[in-house]
Homo-oligomer: 287 residues x 2
C-alpha cells in the first residue's frame, strides 16, 4: 500500500466524497490477509514510536495531526489503536467540544492555538478548528459570509505554525458509509460498555449526512496544502483505517530525516571525570 499517494487530497483538486468508497481496502492485489493485519499494525506503530522519540530529541520539527470525520468513523479508535504507539511523553491528544461561552466570545482559532505542538512534540486534535466550517455551516450557526472567509483564515494560521515552528500538519477525514454508521450505532446501543456514549444528536445528525459530505468537500478542496495536506480515509473496515493512518504518519515522520542532536557538552572531558569518579568510588568502597 502506498497510502500517501492514494489517499492524499492534492492541493487544488476537486473533492467528491459522495463518490468515495469507504469500504476501500487497497489497490487490487495489494490487500493484506486477515492474519497479517494485527502484526502489520504493530510493526508500523513500532516505527512511529521510534521516529516520534527521535523527533522529541531532535527538537526542531513538530507534528499536528487533525482527526475529523463522520460520526462513528473512528476518531477515538485511531487514538487508541494508532496514536498509542507514541511515547506519551511528547505526544498529547486534545479534544474540542462545543465552545464555552468564553471561547465563543473570541475568534474561532483563539481556543485552538494554545494546543499547537511545541518543537519536538506531537499534538493530536480530536475534532478541531475545522468544526467551524463543518457543524457550524451544516447547522447555520453563523451566516455564510462568516464561515466562507474562514478557509483562508485557517490556511494562514496553519502556514504560521509551519513557517514559524517547523510544524507539519496531517489532516485525516475519516469517512464511513451511511449503512456502516447505522450498524455501528446499533452495535453501540446493545453494548453495555458503550451505551453511555450515545446521545440524542447521534441519530439526528444522520439527517444531515449529505450536508456534512458537502461541507467536507469544500473544506478539503480549499485547505489541502503541501505542508498541511488532507487525507480521505476509508473507514468501513477498521483494520484498513488504522493501517492507512499509521502508515501515513510513519512515512511523514520518515521524510523529515530526523536526527538526534549533537551533544551540547564536551564528552571527552565528562568521560575523564566519570572515570576519575569511578576509580575514587571503587577505592572508597574497598577502604
Amino acid at each position: 500500500m502506498n497510502d500517501i499517494k492514494t489517499l492524499i487530497v492534492e492541493p487544488g483538486a476537486k473533492v467528491h466524497l459522495e463518490q468515495f468508497d469507504p469500504a476501500y481496502t487497497g489497490e487490487p492485489g495489494q490487500e493484506i490477509a486477515h492474519a497479517d493485519r494485527a502484526p502489520a499494525l504493530e510493526s508500523v506503530k513500532a516505527r512511529i514510536g521510534a521516529l516520534q522519540r527521535k523527533m522529541y530529541g531532535d527538537n526542531a520539527h513538530s507534528l499536528l495531526i487533525v482527526l475529523q470525520g463522520l460520526d462513528a468513523a473512528g476518531k477515538d479508535g485511531v487514538c487508541w489503536h494508532v496514536i498509542s504507539g507514541m511515547d506519551p511523553q511528547g505526544c498529547r491528544v486534545q479534544g474540542f467540544k462545543a465552545p464555552t461561552a468564553v471561547e465563543a466570545a473570541h475568534d474561532f482559532l483563539w481556543r485552538i492555538h494554545p494546543h499547537a505542538p511545541a518543537k519536538g512534540e506531537v499534538a493530536v486534535f480530536n475534532r478541531s478548528h475545522y468544526e467551524d466550517v463543518l457543524v457550524t455551516r451544516v447547522h447555520k450557526l453563523v451566516p455564510r459570509k462568516v464561515w466562507e472567509r474562514r478557509y483562508d483564515l485557517i490556511n494562514e494560521w496553519e502556514r504560521l505554525l509551519h513557517i514559524e515552528n517547523g510544524t507539519t500538519i496531517l489532516k485525516f477525514c475519516l469517512v464511513v458509509s451511511k449503512e456502516e454508521q447505522l450498524k455501528r450505532f446499533a452495535e453501540r446501543l446493545e453494548d453495555p460498555d458503550r451505551q453511555w456514549k450515545i446521545s440524542d444528536s447521534d441519530y439526528r445528525e444522520r439527517e444531515f449526512f449529505d450536508d456534512y459530505l458537502a461541507a467536507f468537500n469544500e473544506a478539503l478542496e480549499r485547505t489541502s496544502t503541501p505542508h498541511a495536506p488532507w487525507f480521505t480515509i476509508p473507514c468501513d473496515h477498521k483494520w484498513f483505517r488504522n493501517l492507512a493512518v499509521a502508515g501515513i504518519i510513519a512515512d511523514t515522520l520518515d521524510a523529515l530525516h530526523l536526527e538526534y542532536p549533537e551533544p551540547t557538552v564536551d564528552l571527552d572531558r565528562i568521560r575523564r571525570e566519570y572515570h576519575a569518579a569511578q576509580s575514587k568510588e571503587n577505592a572508597g568502597g574497598k577502604g
Copy 2:
C-alpha cells in the same frame, strides 16, 4: 508481589532512603523469572489501559501520577514503558523544568495547578511541585523558612484536588544506587542516540547525592497521605521498576470500582428510531 503494601510510605512513617535497597526485586521466593518479565508487564499494561478507559467514561474520578527520583533512575523510562499502556485520549504527560521568569514571579503551585487532571483524566507529572522542596532545598535557592512551609502548602493543595475533583494522587520516588547511576551515565556517554541528553549538571549533581536523599526523606515523611501516598521504587533493575509502578497504578484503579455511566438517553426510543431508519433506508436502497 504485593507492591502497594511493600513499597508504600505509610502516612507518618519515618523514611531512611540511605538504608533503602535500590536493587530489591521482590520478597524471597516471589521473584519473577527473566523469561516472564515482559509478558507480565504487557499483561499489567493491558489492565491499566482497560481501567483507564473506564475511568474516562466514568468521568467521576481522576488520577495524578507524580514521578520524582534520582537522576537516571528512570522517570522517562516509566513514561515509555508503563504510561504508554494508557489510551492517549484521556492521559497526558507534563514535564516541569526550571521555572521561567514569569513562573518564578508567582507562588510555586501557580504553574502546576493548570495541569491537574480533569474528571476522567490521568495526568502524569515528570518532575513536579516537589522540585520546590528538593532541588530548591539542596541548592539553597530559597531560604529554609520558605521551603519549610511548603510541605503543608503541598498537602493542602493535594487535598483540594482530592476533595473537590475526586483525584487520587500516586507519587513515585524512583531510587537508584549511586553505583548504578554512574553506570547509566557511562552507558549514555557511549550511546550515539542518547549522548544529546547529557548535560554538565548530570555529573555535578552526583556530589549532592546524599543531600537529595535527605531532602527526599523529609518530603516523603511529611507529604505521604491516604489520598496521595508516596511509594519508594527500587530502580536498579528496570524490569522491577516498571512492574512495580505498573502494578501499583493498576491496583489503585481497580480499587476505585469504576463503572461506565448510565446512558443519558432513552435507549428504547432510540432503538425504535434506528429500526425505523433501517427499514426506510433498506426500502430506499432497493427502490
